[in-house]
Each structure stands twice: as structure tokens, then as C-alpha cells.
Symmetry: C2
Subunit: 333 residues, 2 copies
DNA sequence: CTGAAAGCGCTTACAG
DNA sequence: CTGAAAGCGCTTACAG
């Protein structure tokens, strides 16, 4: 590929001038600029980013690590951040840790050699030490947090979500509610469970399931749901609160396998708003996270940090969820 | 961050030796090597990849452009390719074109400055000219093709998929089948429609819908399905063949909105096997693509090309789909 | 087995 | 407005 010296030769100018024509066009005579641009077109020149980055000492590169790219939440975050980063002319390098701290660590090591100017991560459990070597650059953590002190953290207001859900169910007359969540070793599930405990009105009978782990929850949720559905109607909860989209999928599966019908026999609210919730035969009432906004905010916040516009200490930013009422929550009155 | 000269100073060795200890350890005395490794640990040194790439003239970087990262097909491709590429110690830069040729072109321009050694792309329509400047490096196209001559192409055997679907429906006694697909300006939809035409047995009454466009198909499919469902039972097709996952979602929605039941009133086969197909109240019979395998093969094929192991001309590779029989296809006999 | 030197392609003070 | 020169951090023949 043509380089800046080829362009210089072709135009009879110096490499300095060619470089300037590209980076500070106003400092170059109009005629000169045109001649250069034409040569660039003809020879198909494109700046060698390695040389530029080496010389300038800045990589204009951001790292992004999600823990499961197949999860729509994560894919949406990738998309949002990508949109912002291309706008800024930065390069984004994406990795997926598959909820595996060792894999995360490997990816992080590779990223380090790219002289990242910033990092955005949905950390997997116990990631803090993986991040210690990133002390020099701003780090933003989404949805979960590693325990690293200097990170900005962007999360849902999980308690608020549970407040919305509990109030909705209570308003419909539900007084016997089943909560199914993942392991509270994950902060997100801990907060959701706490929110449920806190906002579920006192006169309500609660049934709680904490599934082990944070992955492969769907099958487990289906099992648990089948148990719940087998209870005689008088002892059975009238509503289920599924603490994330995988669990919601399992609940739906379990309910139908038990021969019951959503809404009619048992109500359901899903935390997260998976795609299928809207076109399900019985569309599912959901607590929706503003995922795209969260990703976008993460990227913008990161750029503010990189530019040094923000001198405050790292903080946690909470985003507000929204209750989407559909047909899976029936009134008992 | 520490560089190779810092390590050299600290150990009293030359930069050459430090570099060699890293890249060709066997050429350096064991003791020297240890001393160097220790210094690297202490100072937290990490190779500057820009300097290395600049010097070596190769970027060890692959570009990947999908057209919609939120589509599970695309997300799976990203994951598969990522897995392969990390294994090879390469860097992957991912972009999403959002089915927009202009955006694709912008991303491609950015990628060019990274001196890519290879490119994998799910091209959006009419992309060929966007790719002309990538004449020097191997390009692999997945699922669709741009028209570029020198690309390897990896696709599903769509006709075979339709053959499986048609045979399954025919075997169950269906003789009145509705096909709903996207615009045949997209090769994939063209092939699926052709496959349907070709393998649908002669005694069958066919009803064909070609929706405009290749995006936002769900709502359109729901509309069309409602029309179909409103037909009197005697004139109504007994089965619907949905040509991709978005269309399948719309069909499901349309069927339920019409008050009909899947299987019982009307059968459904979905091309692609979306996550929800398996836990739907009436789990959906599907034609599944080996998506992960296709992505993995793309990456491996690309590496073969990069290494020059493959001298044959670029070809099209067809992957075989699989029929997953669930409950949405009922027997009429 | 180790070191001195050149060079990858670019940018950037500095001089004119 | 333009050019000559130095240097970013690394690797790699070449010499010893």
C-alpha cells in the first residue's frame, strides 16, 4: 500500500506537507492540498494507524469486554458503544469473556498491548484483580461491578424496578407471590432480591427461589416453575416474578408444560424485556432496562474521562427501569 | 508504561536481547531470560503492538463486519470468529453496518487504516464497490454475497433446507401451504423461495408472500398472517413456512392475534431456529443453520488464505441445515 | 549468546 | 506556506 513518501514523491512535495494536508488542511495552500488529495486518490493511500499511534503516543483505541455476546443485553451494549466510538473516530476492540474469569484475564492481557485509552467492561465475578493492571486509564463497568475502586459504574436501579413490579402486582390484588432469581453472589441478583423483600407489601405471602449460578438459568427456572405449578391452586402463588430474561423464559416453559395458562392461572412479570415477550401468545409484562442508553452513557462518560473533563471521583450511575404492562399479569379482583 | 529500553537498562542488557527473550526465548541464555522476565514483571511491561506491527509490516488484525449485531445469527458469528481469532493471537475489530451501505463504507474506510490481513463480512446489499479497495487481502463473505469475484463465500444450502421443510409438511399431509419470505433482491430469500418452488410437491396449492425489504419484517409478517388466518377454514392454507426468524416471530404473533392455535388450526415451520422456538407454548418446528460452525469455518478458511496454504480460487461453501421437529407442525391424517 | 545500528511510516517542533 | 530532521518502540539482519 502506498505510504506518505510515495505521495510526497508523486507530488514533488515533502512528507511533512503531505502529513499536514491530512491533519491540518488549513495550514496548507489550497492548490497544494488539491494536488495531494488527487495523488492520494490515485495511489489509494490510507494512513498507517500503527505509525501514527506510535508517533503520537495515543492509541485512540477503546476496549470493551462483555461476558456473553449472545445475550441481547450485551449485544445492545456493544451496539450502543460502537455507535459512539465510531463517531469519535476511535477504534473499538471487543472481547467476550463467557463468564470465565480466566478467559477475561487473557483478553485483558491482549488488550493491554493495544495501549488502550479506556476500557468498558461487563465484568464476570471476581474480576477485580484482572483489572489492577489497568490503573492508568479510565474504566467503566456496566451492570455489575468488580470491586475496583476507581471505576465508574453504570447500573440499573434494581430496587426501583422491584418497587414497580411489586406495586403493579399488589394493585392487581396479588397477595401470594413467587420470586425466582439467580445467585445473590451476583450483585444484580442480590439487589433485585432485596428490592423484592423491601417493596413487597407486608400482607403478602412470599415464596423465594435463589437458583445457583448466574448462567444456564433457564432450565433450572423451568424445573422450579413446574414444582410451583403442581401445588394445589389454594397453596400456589398467584404470580411469579422472574429476575431476568433467561429465568423468564424458563418460567414460561414451566407454566405451559404444567398445563397452566399465563394470566388466567398464574401471572408473570419478567425483569428485562426480551424480544419474545411482546409477541408471545400471552405477551409478558416486563420491567425494561434502558440498555442502549446505558451503553451510550458509558461511552460518553468514558470519553469525558479520557479528555480529562471530569475530575470528580468515580461514582455509580443508576438508570431507571420502566414497567411495560402487557397481558401476563391478571387482576384478581 | 515501561518499554523495552527500560527493561534493557534495568537488566543491563541490550534492547535486542530483551526483544529476543520475548519472541525467540530459545535463542537467549536461560539466566538472561529469567532476569529479563523478572524485570518485565516488576515494571509491568507489555509489548507495544503499534511499534511491533509497524516494524513487522503485518498487523495481525482481522476485520469483521456484520449487518446487525442484535440478530442472534450475527452475534453467534461474531462469537465463533472471536474464539478462533484469539486462539491465533490476532486482533479482531468488529463493526456493524445496520444494513446501511453508507455506514458499511465508513467502517470499511476505518478498517483500511488498520492494515488488515483479512476481512470477514456479512455484506449488506450492493456492497461490491465498498470492497474493491480490499483487493490485496483475503475476504470471506457469510450468508450473503457482494458480487466481489475473489471472495470465498460461506452460506447455507437454502434449497436443501426448503427440501427438508417441504418434505416434512408433505409427509404430514399438508397440501395447501403458505410461504412468507423477504425481498428476493436478497440472495438468501431468493434461494429459499426457489427452493420452496422446486421442492413443494406438484399437487400442493401454494400461496406466496414476498415482503418488501430485508429488515423490519416482523410487523409485516404479522399483518400478512392475520389476513391469511381470516380466510375461511376451507380456503386457508394448513401450514405456513416462515423464511427467517423475524418472519416467524410475526407469524406467531399474527396467528395468536387471530385467535387461532398453532398446530391445531395451522402448522408452522420457521427457517432459522430462534431461541424462543424451543420454549414457546407450542414449540416451533425449525430449519436450523449450523451458525457457529459457519463462523468458525470462515475464520479458519481466512487463516488458511492468509498463510497462503490455499491456492485454489475462491469458492462458495454450502452448509447443510437440519430439521428440528417440535410441536407446531401437526399431521392432517 | 549478545549488541550496535538501521528502519518500519508517521508527526511535529523548528527553521526558513 | 514548506522542508529537513528527529524520534515514537520495536525487530532484525549483521557482526562479533
Amino acid at each position: 500500500m502506498a505510504n506518505i513518501i510515495d505521495i510526497a514523491k508523486k507530488t514533488g512535495l515533502s512528507p511533512s506537507t503531505v502529513s499536514r494536508a491530512l491533519s491540518k488542511p488549513e495550514k496548507v495552500a489550497a492548490g497544494t492540498r488539491e494536488k495531494i488529495m488527487q495523488a492520494i486518490d490515485e495511489l489509494g493511500y490510507e494512513t498507517n494507524i500503527f505509525a501514527r499511534n506510535l508517533r503520537q503516543g495515543g492509541s485512540r483505541t477503546i476496549g470493551l469486554i462483555v461476558s456473553d455476546i449472545l445475550n441481547p443485553f450485551h449485544a445492545t451494549v456493544v451496539k450502543a458503544i460502537q455507535d459512539e466510538i465510531y463517531r469519535e473516530g476511535f477504534t473499538l476492540i471487543v472481547g467476550s469473556s463467557e463468564e470465565d474469569a480466566a478467559k477475561e484475564s487473557t483478553i485483558l492481557a491482549q488488550l493491554r498491548s493495544h495501549q488502550l485509552q479506556g476500557l468498558i467492561i461487563i465484568p464476570t465475578s471476581g474480576t477485580c484483580e484482572n483489572l489492577t493492571s489497568f490503573s492508568g486509564i479510565p474504566v467503566i463497568e456496566i451492570d455489575r461491578f468488580s470491586g475496583r475502586q476507581q471505576s465508574d459504574i453504570i447500573r440499573l436501579d434494581n430496587e426501583e424496578g422491584m418497587k414497580l413490579a411489586a406495586a403493579h402486582l399488589h394493585g392487581l390484588g396479588h397477595r401470594h407471590i413467587c420470586y425466582i432469581g439467580g445467585s445473590t453472589s451476583a450483585e444484580t441478583f442480590r439487589e433485585r432480591l432485596e428490592g423484592f423483600q423491601k417493596y413487597c407489601p407486608e400482607q403478602t405471602t412470599k415464596m423465594l427461589f435463589e437458583l445457583p449460578g448466574i448462567a444456564a438459568l433457564q432450565a433450572q427456572a423451568a424445573d422450579v416453575t413446574r414444582q410451583v405449578c403442581q401445588l394445589p391452586a389454594s397453596e400456589r402463588p398467584t404470580a411469579i416474578l422472574a429476575a431476568n430474561n433467561d429465568i423468564a423464559a424458563g418460567v414460561v416453559q414451566g407454566v405451559y408444560q404444567s398445563g397452566l395458562a399465563l394470566a388466567q392461572d398464574i401471572s408473570l412479570i419478567a425483569f428485562d424485556d426480551p424480544e419474545w415477550a411482546s409477541f408471545f401468545p400471552c405477551p409478558v409484562t416486563a420491567i425494561r432496562q434502558p440498555v442502549y442508553d446505558m451503553g451510550q452513557f458509558a461511552a460518553r462518560q468514558l470519553f469525558r474521562r479520557i479528555r480529562g473533563e471530569l475530575l470528580e471521583e468515580a461514582t455509580t450511575w443508576r438508570f431507571t427501569p420502566q414497567l411495560i404492562i402487557r397481558h401476563s399479569t391478571a387482576s384478581l379482583t
